[in-house]
């Protein structure tokens, strides 16, 4: 069996979410969200602005505590973990790519230092090795090796986003959260990023949860799609099935309001 077959045939979901609910006072952030994510799978989350996508993602990533529901990661109850355990997970097994690279990078630290931080956080103590790994990852995200000592503030938006991805993936996480990773980038830069992400998902067997409002992005990147409206999941399924044969009125509207995805 190939690696990929083994990954797709595993019967254990990497992430199992049940009845996740988060309220902001009277307002619903997200309500009763359930899904399973398997190793090697990319799950897209779409929905109009304010539909609860970011709320859901931040609850999943442990940035916010949901009011109700269960999250199991690799069979472990995430909400019952101590903060130490959860933070250790988010330094090793998990990664979070922010919509705004400034939120996910240390702007005062060089590109190499940004990439190396997670390595040092898990105990890497050999400067040469750390720098070698950082250079390797900069290469993978197509940032020239001679920029390794430059600060991200000297990078374009697309480069910053790629740097953020390198910084997140260097420790070989198994689960990556992405909130609008291609937002604010022009189309050709988006395309490069998509290509990069697809390659990484394929080569590293990553599981990804990606929030976006761009249906073209999810069509190319996500295996499965979840459509949210007013905090609830109104439809989920295979990405191309949801986009080509949408069942819910809201999804039909969403799809028809976008030209040819």
């Amino acid at each position: 069996m190939t690696l990929m077959e083994r990954m797709t045939m595993t019967d254990q979901p990497l992430l199992r979410v049940e009845g996740l609910t988060k309220r902001y006072g009277q307002r619903i952030g997200c309500a009763d969200v359930s899904f399973d994510l398997y190793p090697g799978e990319v799950l897209g989350i779409v929905g109009e602005s304010g539909s609860g996508k970011s709320t859901l993602l931040s609850c999943l990533a442990g940035h916010q505590r949901p009011d109700l529901g269960r999250i199991a990661y690799d069979g472990r109850d995430v909400l019952a973990m101590s903060e130490t355990e959860r933070r250790r997970l988010s330094r090793t097994d998990w990664a979070y790519v922010h919509q705004n690279p400034r939120d996910g990078l240390r702007m005062g630290v060089s590109a190499g230092g940004n990439v190396g931080e997670r390595l040092m956080a898990v105990g890497a103590r050999h400067y040469g090795d750390i720098r070698g790994k950082a250079a390797d990852w900069l290469g993978r995200v197509e940032i020239a090796a001679d920029r390794i000592d430059d600060r991200p503030s000297a990078f374009s938006g697309g480069m910053q986003q790629r740097l953020q991805i390198a910084r997140n993936l260097v420790t070989g996480p198994r689960l990556v959260f992405m909130d609008e990773p291609t937002g604010g980038l022009d189309v050709s830069v988006q395309a490069r990023l998509l290509d990069l992400l697809r390659g990484l998902v394929r080569d590293l067997g990553l599981s990804v949860i990606i929030v976006t409002h761009d249906l073209a992005v999810v069509r190319l990147l996500a295996h499965r799609l979840m459509v949210m409206k007013s905090g609830r999941v109104v439809e989920q399924g295979l990405t191309d099935q949801v986009l080509d044969d949408p069942q819910h009125a809201y999804t039909q509207l969403l799809v028809s309001s976008v030209l040819q995805v």
Partner: protein
């Protein structure tokens, strides 16, 4: 390999007054290994719809839709993903790819997704592109800027890269010249020879006659009320 029983399909247009359009009822057919079955029927009869349901791209409303031992009509998304990766290939009418990705990579991708070593995958992709007369100077470019016929051939190369046990072909020869059509037909014959079950839509009578073992007219499956 493919067994369809009592399959039905309708579309509900929520944003057009909730209109329900029944497009298929009681559909049934089988395709055995090494066999090629052609779908016929006038435009709009439901050929592509049926094929898309087999691929899991459209949801079935009812019935059974077996590919190997998986019922696509009721399968979980991830089972369909695995099916598409390993078992069921699909050459659609249009090529849909990530912009900027070189043609060679586009064609090699189904193999890479299966974990085939990169050089092996690219070698196979190159041989298919060569056979389909895509000039080598185009291989490093994205197919997004190619002509319709070139895109179609890239799409075919991609569909034939992995030796799927079952294949869906939606008008694979539509916009091809005689020489390239010949290549595609021989690819289909080779696939049959290795035991692939093929469900195809061919508007070209000669092509149909040459590769199809049986024909199924989907007009038979048109719901009575709508007919």
């Amino acid at each position: 390999m493919i067994r369809i029983e009592n399959l039905s399909k309708s579309f509900t247009l929520h944003n057009q007054g909730g209109a329900v359009i029944p497009v298929m009822a009681g559909a049934a057919l089988t395709v055995g290994p090494g066999e090629c079955v052609g779908l016929t029927g006038q435009s709009g009869a439901g050929k592509s719809t049926l094929m898309r349901m087999v691929y899991g791209n459209y949801l079935a409303a009812g019935g059974r839709l077996m590919v190997g031992d998986l019922d696509v009509a009721t399968a979980e998304p991830r089972q369909i993903i695995a099916l598409r990766r390993q078992t069921l290939g699909y050459v659609s009418q249009f090529l849909r790819v990530v912009p900027r990705v070189p043609t060679l990579e586009v064609v090699a991708e189904p193999l890479l997704a299966l974990g085939t070593p990169a050089d092996q995958a690219r070698e196979r992709a190159a041989s298919l592109l060569r056979r389909l007369n895509i000039p080598e100077r185009l291989w490093s470019l994205s197919p997004t800027t190619f002509s319709g016929g070139e895109q179609q051939r890239v799409n075919i190369a991609r569909g034939f890269a992995h030796a799927y046990p079952a294949l869906l072909l939606d008008e694979p020869t539509a916009s091809l010249d005689a020489a390239n059509r010949e290549v595609v037909l021989s690819l289909i014959e080779e696939a049959k020879a290795r035991g692939a079950a093929i469900l195809g839509i061919f508007h070209d009578e000669a092509a149909r006659a040459r590769v199809c073992d049986r024909l199924v007219d989907v007009t038979e499956f048109t719901p009575k009320a709508a007919a």
